[in-house]
C-alpha cells in the first residue's frame, strides 16, 4: 500500500476534527474526501500533509511510519485552497521553490527544471509574471505545477477549484483528471462539491462530523448509499420512511411522469431549467421531487394530474 491511515484521530473539540480514520490508498489512485464544511476533511488532509500532529493513530507510507515527519520531509505536496503562491516571487520562481528546497537541486538548475512544469500545466510565456497579476485559473495552474515539481508520491488538493467560476471549474476539473492519469500521480482531493467528487474519483470517502460514513466508488456511493445522509449529500433524493422502519430512497431522475387524468399524483409546482424540468408532485400522502428531462417533459402545468413510475429505488 502506498499510504495507510490507521485509527487517525485529531479532535479540536467534540464535533471538530477527525475520529478514527482508517484508509488505504494505492499507487495512482484518485481519492476524494467529500463532506460539508466542518466534517473534518481538511483536518484529515492537514494530518496527511504533516501540518497537524494527530492525537492518536498512525500514518504509514510503504510500510514506513511517517507520523512524526515534518511536512518538509514528507514526499507529499499540497495544493492549497487559496493557492498560497509566494507573492514576492514570479511564476517560475514559485515553481522552482520546491525543486530547490525539497529536491535540493542547485539554484541555477532549478529554473530550468521548473520550465518543464510550466509546459505541463500550459503556462508558457508567463514565466516572469508576478503571481498577483495572474487570473484565478492561472494561479491555480501555478499552484499545481509548484506542488508537482517536488515530485511528490502523493498530491493533496484542498478544494482547489472552489475559487474559480463555474465554466473554468469544469475545464480545470478535466485537466486535473487528465494530468493525474497521464503522470500517474496519486491524488487525495478534498471537496464539498459532489459533482467534482463523482467525476474525478476512483474512490470517494464521505465524511460527517469527523467520522467516515462510507467509502466506495462513485457509482456505489450514488446508487447504494449506506445512509440517508450520504444519499442526501450526493445528488438529490426523495427519502421515504416506510411503516416497517425501512427507509426508501428514490432519486428524482428515477421517476417518470406521464399525464393521466386518473393518475394518483398532482403537480404542485414546477420549475423549467432548460435541460430538464423540476417538478414537485404529491398524492396526499407523500410528495416527491422529480427531475424530468428534455422537451417532452417541459409542457406540464401546475395542477395537472399525472401517473408516476418509479424505475429504481434504494432500500436502506
Amino acid at each position: 500500500m502506498l499510504l495507510e491511515l490507521k485509527g487517525l484521530t485529531k479532535l479540536f473539540d467534540e464535533y471538530n476534527g477527525v475520529r478514527d480514520l482508517n484508509l488505504k490508498v494505492a499507487e495512482g489512485e484518485f481519492i476524494t474526501l467529500l463532506g460539508p464544511s466542518g466534517c473534518g476533511k481538511t483536518t484529515a488532509l492537514n494530518l496527511i500533509g504533516g501540518f497537524l500532529k494527530p492525537d492518536r493513530g498512525e500514518i504509514i507510507m510503504e510500510d514506513v511510519p511517517i507520523t512524526d515527519l515534518p511536512p518538509e520531509k514528507r514526499p507529499i505536496s499540497t495544493v492549497f485552497q487559496s493557492y498560497a503562491l509566494f507573492p514576492h516571487l514570479n511564476v517560475l520562481e514559485n515553481i522552482a521553490y520546491g525543486i530547490r528546497f525539497y529536491r535540493k537541486v542547485k539554484k541555477k538548475k532549478t529554473l530550468e527544471m521548473a520550465g518543464e512544469y510550466i509546459k505541463i500545466v500550459g503556462l508558457e510565456g508567463y514565466e516572469s509574471y508576478k503571481v498577483g497579476n495572474l487570473s484565478g485559473g492561472q494561479q491555480q495552474r501555478v499552484a499545481l505545477a509548484r506542488a508537482m515539481a517536488t515530485n511528490p508520491r502523493i498530491l493533496l488538493l484542498d478544494e482547489p477549484l472552489s475559487n474559480l467560476d463555474a465554466s473554468l471549474r469544469h475545464r480545470l476539473r478535466e485537466e486535473i483528471r487528465n494530468l493525474q492519469q497521464r503522470m500517474g500521480i496519486t491524488m487525495i482531493f478534498v471537496t464539498h462539491d459532489q459533482s467534482e467528487a463523482l467525476s474525478l474519483s476512483d474512490w470517494i470517502v464521505v465524511m460527517d462530523k469527523g467520522n467516515v460514513i462510507q467509502v466506495g466508488t462513485p457509482k456505489e456511493i450514488y446508487f447504494h448509499p449506506k445512509s440517508d445522509y450520504v444519499a442526501s449529500f450526493i445528488g438529490k433524493s426523495n427519502i421515504i420512511k416506510e411503516h416497517q422502519g425501512e427507509t426508501l430512497i428514490i432519486r428524482p431522475e428515477d421517476i417518470k411522469v406521464d399525464l393521466d387524468s386518473n393518475g394518483d399524483y398532482r403537480i404542485d409546482s414546477l420549475t423549467f431549467l432548460g435541460q430538464h424540468t423540476e417538478l414537485k408532485i404529491s398524492n396526499g400522502e407523500v410528495s416527491l421531487e422529480v427531475i424530468a428531462p428534455g422537451k417532452e417533459n417541459s409542457d406540464f402545468n401546475k395542477g395537472d394530474r399525472v401517473k408516476a413510475t418509479i424505475t429504481h429505488k434504494i432500500k436502506i
Partner: protein, 580 residues
Amino acid sequence: MEACKDIWRERRLKNLLSPDSLIEKGLILLIVVTILLFILFPIIMVISTSFYQQGVIDFGNYRNLLSSANLELIRNSVFVATLSSLLGTFFALCVALYVFFQKRKVGELIYRSLMITMISPPFISAIALIMLFGRRGLITHGILGLSVNPYGWQGIVLLQTLSQISLASIMLISALNAIDSRLIQASRDLGANPTQTLSRVILPSIFPAIMSVLFLFFTMNMADFGTPIIIGGSFNVLAAEAYLKTFSAADIGKAATLSVLLIPPAIVAFYFYRKNVGKINTLSEGARTLKGAELNFRLPVIIRVFIGLVTGAFFFSMVLKYGNIFLSAITTNVSGELVFTWEHIERFHYRYVDAFYRTLRMSVMAGLLSSVVGILLSYYTHRLKLPLMKSVEFVASLPYIIPGLFFGLGYIVAFHNEPLLLTGTMTILILNCTFRHISVGNKAANAAFENIDGKLEMAARDLGTSRVGVLATIIFPLLKSSFLVSFINTFTKSMTTVGPIIFLATPRNMVSSVLMFHDITNGRYGLGAVVATVLIFITVSVNLVAIRFLSKEKEEKPAAERSLRKERGEKYAAGAKGFN
C-alpha cells in the same frame, strides 16, 4: 524522476538530529529574554528605586513630592504640557484637514514636507527662536529694534507646539484617510451639509486618533526637559528637575520618583492609542476609502481659509527654523550683524567627527536590530500564535509611550552593576535605541501580516523549507517594506534623540545629539547649529531614499493586493476555517 523518488527515506533518519527546531526555540527564547531584560527590567528598576532610600523601603521620596516646591513643579508641568498639547493638536488638526481636502498633488507635497519636517532633533527650534526673536534677535532686535525676552513658559509652549505639529498632522491624516468614505457620502445623502458632516461624522470618526495625539503629546511634553532648560529661564518643570537631579545632584531616587509621576498620563495616552489602532484594524471588510479630494465636498470658505492660513503659517515657521539653523552654522552674530565664518564648522571637525561616526553606527545597528526583533516578535505572536507571546508583545509596546527620560534612567539603574555592567559602552546605547523603538517594527509587521495569506508558511514547509528557512525565504522578503519602515523610524529617532540617552552617553561613548544639547545649553549656538545641520542632512537623505523605495514598492503592489483581497473575500465566502 525515479532517482529522487526516495529522497524522503534517507532524510527521515536525519530528522531526529535536525537542529532546525532547536534553532527556532533558541530564537524565541532570545527574543523573550531580551525583551524582558531590556524593557521590563529597567522599568521595574526605576519604580523600585523610587521606593528605596539608602537600601531600605521608604516612601520618603513620595512624601517629599508634596513639598510646595515640587507641587509648583507639577503645576508648571501640567500647565505647559496641557497648553502646548492642546494647541499642537488643534493646529495639527487644521493642517490635517487642509491636506485631506486638498487636491491630490498638493496634498501629497504637503504630506511629504510634513514627513521631512518631522525629522529634527528636539529643541533645535530653540536656536531659531533665540537667534531670531531673542534679546539680540535678528528680527526683534535687528529689524524691529526691540529687545524681547524669549525665556519663560511662553517660549516653551511655542516651541513644544511647533515641534509636534508635523507628526501629529501625519497621524491625523492617516486617521482621516481611514474613514469609510461611504459614511461621508451617506451623511450628505441624508441631508447634512459639509459643516454638519464635518462635525457629526468626520470629527467623531477620528476622535480616538485626536485623543491619542493629544495624550501622546501631553506625555511627550511632560517628559520634555530639553526645551524648558534651554528656553524656560526661571520657569522650571518636573522633567527638567528630574534631569538636573540625576545629572548634577546624582540623586537617582528622587529623579526616579519624579519620572514615575510622568507615567499616569502616558497610560491614558496608551489607552487611546490602542483604541485607535484597534479601530483602524477592524475597519469593515467592504470599507472604501477615498481621499477627501475625490469626494465632492467643500467646506465653507471661512473654515477653508482658516485651515489654509494655519498650514501656511506652520510651513513659514518651518522655513524660518531650518533656514536659521543652516545660517547659524556658518555665521556669527556680531552686534546684530551676521558675519560669515568657518569657525563652527572647524570646531565641529576637530571635536565631533568621532562622536558623529559613533552616532551613525549606533543608529544603523539599532535600526537593524529593532526591525529584526520587532518582526520576529510579530511573527511568533500573530502568525504562529504561541501562548503568552501577547504579553511579551505588550511589554515590547511599553517603551513607545514611556517618557524617554524614564527609559534612560531605567538603563542607568538596571545596568550599572556586574554582571550587567553596561554603562559607558556603545552596547548600552544600541540596546536602548533598539528596544525603545521595537514596537514600530512590530506594529508594521502586524499590519503587513494581516494582508498575507496565512497558508504561505505551510506551503513553504510543504515544499521542503525548514522552520528557520521559512523566515529567510518567505517572511523577511515579504516584509521588506515593514522592515524598511521600522529601520528608518529607529534610525531617525536614534540619530536625533536626546531624552533616553542623555544619561547613557558619557565622554567615553558620546553621541552627536547629546553634544548638541550641551552646546546649546551652554550658549554655543553656532556649533549646535552645525551638529543639527549635519544630523538633519544625513537623516533626511536616508529618509528620502527610503520614501522613494517604499513608494516604488507601493506602485508594484496594487496587482498583488488585488489578488490578495480577492483571496480573502473568497475565503470568507467559502466559509473556510483559519488554520491554527
